[in-house]
Symmetry: C2
């Protein structure tokens, strides 16, 4: 919704100094820049993008992807699929292994004219998908999940059951292709490792596709991606589409991997100083884990960033200040190493840059949107508020 | 809302086998039992209870506390205070340090006739609260936060500024009392340590109150509490009210402390098996951190329970099965030590008992309510759906 400049309701807040804290902020300038960066990469690699919308879960953020024109997307829940279908999106991949109970909602979306692709990695799933497709007289486009790095689900490309699963799906008109996700690339700490992870993700997905083709089974889609590998891939020959989600916002985990810079982080949470424990070197804020999530993704990285780094309201990093503690509605800020603990009176507003954008965004109903490219003499102006899709 | 037995909408689901997963479940029988247990303790100790509603954030769950009659409550956000005021609650303590920006909403609640007490621990806060009270012609009842264990905010009872803060508040008609919270009792691993933490919490709160009284400042409220200390306190002489929140649901952290048994846990999340990686010993479900939260509270306990323990749909523990991994919409279950990995086909529904009820509940819009005291031949029947208060 757009906020009238002089509306009188609480939603009439006009700068980051106005709404009660904590609240989530998206800098649309940074988000657009992140989106353009990966779009340019995909163009150079000659591959289509299918962004994963699970990070922002917002039709408005997704509107930045393609000039407000619906584009192919990936979703993590059927609630997202339904919300994006309502928003005019017609080419959607639901990238979580299917269970039989969810098929009625899948079929309902297909009947609405949405090409909703689903995912599986076992013959038992292929059988019930084929059966449901036959009963409905409507083939459910299905991808076989391929495991490229032992991260989660999927079949190895040499799994004995791969051709059998492909055949069950093909015979029911359901076989669409293969999908791989290099989840372990979140632990690839150098550019070289990320490039290798991207090459491996491609090689394994293409090998699985070739194995199916060698068995006489047509493979239309060869889908790969994760934010680190999407930014590292050098050659995607044989791949038809690239997926990534986190990059729309980025976060400290991605900055720790070197996939982005800290100044690229588009999501933050505005908090207020509510107290001090000077004897312990603590500044206490009203942003705890309810506002930030319990995600401590940087704990395994070379630089543990606690629950997040701290900026002023304009987004300038406060050197050495880290959110190191969180209870439900309290955050604790401390100075790293020998950094000076700044004097920040009660009432001071700060922004916290999160470890994991997907998890932090999930703690909020929506985003207060600012445009970091517009400089002002006051706190950043709130352009609008964007809502999130929630639930399953 | 009550669900008509034969309604046709998706909300007509009648047992835990019906709604799409994941979703949160509250066993109202267990919750009532937990509530009765602490109420009986408080009666024996001769102290009033002021339950903290931040765990369930639900007027319906709060209705269990006192036969659907509004009782004194503690809240963690002004959104909770406003929702409970809408529900007829008139005696509310907002137990997070105040910042000046939130005072208009505090005053609005007071003007509605709600006795909303606020919290602070500095002279600068006392000054702006006194000033706002004078300007509004409406004294804001205020408690001084006392630190009993170095856990978070608050003043030590011998802090030089304590009488000064009391005086500023008293002169403006705002001084209500003192409040302490033994947050470190979450790390008190024996009954003896918990008893000591409870005694310390009482002693320190009473000492602070006595210091204020010695300075000629009347102290009406002496408020203490945390779920572990509320269940361990042996003598609360001088205390006027006891706070606790988590006990309405309990969780694996509390079970690990011995404050409750695992069979007392009233909150769980229903998930569905969506795949297997038998070569790794993994069962994969559709319940990841979005459904469970990232909270790993038992990681510091003697028995790390991963992201949660696993039961069947009736709530019977599956021995040795633990949710050890989580991505956004995927959970990984593994067998502990030499336990047998059960054969659970795709589509099998399970329940996950959470580490931290406050954090897991926060991932859901509401609760599907069952009554574990009613045995059936089918999956537990869903009695109703209860909504949560969200946001700030």
């Amino acid at each position: 919704m757009n906020i009238p400049a002089n509306a009188a309701s609480p939603s009439a807040a006009r700068t980051l100094a106005d709404p009660d804290t904590p609240f989530a902020v998206v800098d649309v300038h940074k988000s657009r820049r992140n989106i353009e960066r990966l779009a340019a990469r995909a163009d150079r690699l000659g591959v289509a993008l299918r962004p994963h919308v699970k990070t922002a879960k917002s039709l408005d953020v997704a509107g930045l992807l393609h000039d407000d024109t619906p584009c192919p997307v990936t979703v993590s829940t059927l609630a997202e699929a339904e919300a994006f279908a309502d928003g005019g999106y017609t080419d959607i991949t639901y990238a979580v292994g299917i269970d039989p109970h969810k098929l009625p909602r899948v079929l309902a979306l297909l009947r609405r004219g949405v090409t909703l692709r689903i995912l599986l990695d076992s013959a038992e799933q292929a059988e019930f998908v084929a059966e449901a497709s036959r009963r409905a007289g409507l083939p459910i486009p299905t991808q076989i999940e391929i495991d490229c790095d032992g991260h989660r689900g999927g079949l190895k490309p040499d799994a004995p059951t791969l051709p059998e699963i492909g055949r069950i799906l093909y015979d029911a008109g359901c076989l669409d292709g293969v999908l791989a996700h290099a989840g372990e690339s979140y632990f690839a700490y150098t550019v070289e490792e990320q490039c290798l992870a991207a090459k491996n993700e491609r090689d394994i997905a293409v090998a699985a596709a070739e194995r199916l083709r060698a068995a006489g089974l047509p493979v239309a889609t060869v889908s790969v991606g994760s934010t680190p590998t999407a930014h590292a891939a050098e050659d995607l020959t044989g791949v038809t589409e690239l997926r990534a989600g986190n990059y729309v916002f980025f976060d400290l985990v991605m900055a720790g991997l070197g996939v982005c810079r800290i100044e690229d982080l588009a999501l933050s949470v505005v908090v207020t100083v509510i107290g001090h424990r000077r004897e312990y070197g603590w500044i206490i804020t009203d942003g705890g884990w309810m506002a930030m999530s319990r995600d401590r993704g940087t704990a395994v990285q070379a630089q543990d960033q606690g629950y997040g780094l701290v900026t002023d309201l304009d987004g300038n990093l406060i050197p050495g200040l880290v959110m190191t503690g969180a209870s439900q509605e309290h955050g604790t800020l401390t100075a790293r190493d020998s950094a000076h603990l700044p004097d920040l009176p009660v009432g001071t507003r700060l922004r916290i840059l999160p470890n994991h954008a997907c998890a932090t965004a999930a703690q909020h109903h929506g985003y207060h949107v600012i445009d970091g490219a517009r400089t002002t003499n006051t706190a950043p102006a709130i352009q609008t508020i964007w809502e999130r899709v929630t639930g399953w």
